[in-house]
Amino acid sequence: MIKINNLHASIEEKEILKGLNLTVNAGEVHAIMGPNGAGKSTLSSVLAGREEYKITDGSVEFDGKNLLELSTEDRAREGLFLAFQYPIEIPGVSNVNFLRTALNEIREYKGLDAISAKDFMALVRQKTALVGLDSKLATRSVNEGFSGGEKKRNEIFQMAMLEPKLAILDETDSGLDIDALRIVSDGVNSLKSKDNAIIVITHYQRLLDYIIPDYVHVLFDGKIVKSGQKDLALKLEEHGYDWIKEEFATRK
């Protein structure tokens, strides 16, 4: 699905990603953990195509294509989805209008006809139910005045609507209450299939009780420094990152 090879990226002359390697296959769920400022959100922004970041080295292959050559919108149309750590408000633009525009742009890219208003509304009903989003929020302006948790839920609602091949969830669990965490996770799980993949970025092992990862990675200082399975998350929860830092320091 995605193959990141020796990725180096910097912003304002400061190198944040320093030779990152990661391969995710279709049907897999990967978790990325790591201390604040390690570069997790940078990685998701770089993959999504945010232009402030300069890519100085490395390559990314997405579904057989050179991801780094695609424009931001084409990456999305190819099936890359980013659930933002801090979702953006767009005053005056209703969530449904926003999503219909997005969905139709993606469909047009794939050579499909625009979705009818009727089918679209049916889809909205189905997906709001799936992620437990208050249907009133679907018609309100995008994220405007949403609570922290509602914004996160809205990200997953958008993911459900757009059905991406690869979804990157950047700390979607933060801000969600206990019930919402379960509902949103159930939603994510139901979207999982053998043809798509998910990368979850999180600080808490709790989320991984709901969305069970196939692999867990530790991102530290711009690199994946350790990979393992679900038990790695448990170990991190218990011991923190100090032992990783030490291991990393001695390796240097």
């Binding site: 195509g49 919108e73 953006i88 767009i90 005053p91 005056g92 926003f98 999503l99 997005a102």
Partner: protein
């Protein structure tokens, strides 16, 4: 992304050429250039006008001759050479059309290019359209249906002929000839325009709509509109326009007067898209318009405008809140691009008790344009409990454009409540990125965000007009991506 917003977006916006730039080939009946008493007599004679109207024109010309062009607006432009303009131009067609089928195919084609199919409008929306090409009305529809209700909706010339008493009584009653330089000029040389009268207690069942456009190169356009809503009546009036691409500057100095008698309500909506000039700011329409309404007791006037055109716009739709409890509203979106300059806003003159006014102004500047809001809220001595709320927002698309807000408040009554809010923001890179991450193209993302920003104003427009306005905003702001 950041780079896109800062530089490429700026470039894209500058590359946006005027979409409706075309000239239609309908023969015009022109008179010699220049302005003097003889020309005015000629205009009046060509229009078979009564003596009193000629007198009115000549008096206005005298007043105008003694006036100086105002220079206080926050705009710079080459002052039009008033003696080099043709002051009258009518499509060369002696007979009026009895039915739509009789209308010149060329003219129909022109309308099609405007993207506004009159036939569609008639059939689908029930809009009665009085299409003004250059200065003479050529197609009037739905007249009978309106006639049954006693509603008069016709060209200004027809009104002069058929309803001289109404015209005499109200013409110049809101905007006197002496009001300003452009109003005086218009009063001297106006060629045609629209007239509307809604009788007592009648609610006009459809949106009344006039499409104006300038068609003859070098022809000044001097429209005159008069809308009278008699006691307890209601009317929603739409005015929209586009103009063909031109090399030389075209002067447009219209006068619009609204009279809302007791308990009457007038909603006046404009979508304005005069040719703004090319990327270097050459050509383009000069739009110096005087629009004003007067409200008697319990009456309401609401101006909504979406301005995307003109090289220079100078325009302040205003309300005189004369009667107690009367209400004035102003909702405006003004887009400027390239070298466009807009100095627009409103005046709310509170004379009566418990009068209320609302001002919502959304400015969008792109390219190297200058967009100024100038608003005056005046509370007079006897206007007890007057209230005003003003909100002026500016959205900047580039680093080279400018936005200015000049709110003037004159308050002579201490019981007044006046609130003013103003914001200036740069189009959000985060918002653009968010949209594009969902698969939305840059163009569409800008259009979505801008339309969202203008929503409060667009919501005031009748449905069909709102759709058209959104398209216009998109045309004015989308980059030619490539």
């Amino acid at each position: 992304m950041a780079n896109y917003t800062e530089n490429e977006l700026a470039k894209d916006l500058q590359n946006q050429e005027y979409k409706y730039g075309f000239v239609s080939d309908i023969e015009s009946d022109k008179i010699p250039i220049g302005l003097n008493e003889d020309i005015i007599r000629l205009i009046s004679a060509k229009k078979n006008e009564p003596e009193w109207l000629l007198e009115y024109r000549l008096k206005a010309f005298q007043i105008w001759s003694s006036m100086k062009e105002p220079s206080w607006a926050h705009v710079n432009y080459e002052i039009p050479k008033y003696q080099e303009i043709t002051y009258y131009s009518a499509p060369k067609q002696s007979k009026k059309y009895d039915s739509w089928d009789d209308v010149d195919p060329e003219m129909k084609e022109t309308m099609k290019k405007l993207g506004i199919s009159l036939e569609e409008q008639k059939r689908l929306t029930g809009v009665a359209v009085d299409f003004v090409m250059d200065s003479v009305s050529v197609a009037t529809s739905f007249k009978e249906k309106l006639g049954e209700l006693g509603i008069i909706f016709c060209s200004f010339s027809d009104a002069v002929r058929e309803h001289p008493d109404l015209v005499k009584k109200y013409m110049g009653s809101v905007i006197p000839t002496t009001d300003n330089f452009y109003a005086a000029l218009n009063s001297a040389v106006f060629t045609d325009g629209s007239f509307c009268y809604i009788p007592k207690g009648v609610r006009c069942p459809m949106e009344l709509s006039t499409y104006f456009r300038i068609n003859e190169g070098g022809t000044g356009q001097f429209e005159r509109t008069l809308v009278i809503a008699d006691e307890g009546s209601y009317v929603s009036y739409l005015e929209g326009c586009t103009a063909p691409q031109r090399d030389e500057n075209q002067l447009h100095a219209a006068v619009v007067e609204l009279v809302a008698l007791e308990k009457a309500e007038i909603k006046y909506s404009t979508v304005q898209n005069w040719y703004p000039g090319d990327k270097e700011g050459k050509g383009g329409v000069y739009n110096f318009v005087t629009k004003r309404g007067i409200c008697e007791r319990d009456a309401k006037i609401s101006w909504t405008q979406v301005e995307t055109g003109s090289a220079v716009t100078w325009k302040y739709p205003s309300c005189i809140l004369k009667g107690d409890n009367s209400i004035g509203e102003f909702y405006s979106v003004a887009v400027t691009n390239n070298y466009q300059q807009a100095d627009t806003g409103t005046k709310m003159i509170h004379l009566g008790k418990n009068t209320k006014s609302t001002i919502i102004s959304k400015g969008i500047s792109a390219g190297k344009s200058q967009n100024s809001y100038r608003g005056l809220v005046q509370i007079h001595k006897n206007a007890h409990n007057a209230r005003n709320f003003s909100q002026c927002d500016s959205l900047l698309m580039t680093n080279q454009c400018g936005a200015n807000t000049f709110p003037y408040i004159e308050c002579k009554n201490s019981s007044a409540k006046i609130e003013h809010e103003a914001t200036t923001s740069k189009i959000g890179e985060d918002q653009l990125f968010y949209c594009m991450q969902r698969g939305i193209s840059e163009e569409k993302a800008i259009s979505l965000i801008v339309n969202g920003y203008c929503k409060e104003v667009l919501n005031q427009l009748p449905m069909e007009f709102a759709v058209e306005a959104q398209k216009l905003l998109a045309i004015s702001l989308e980059g030619s991506v490539g």
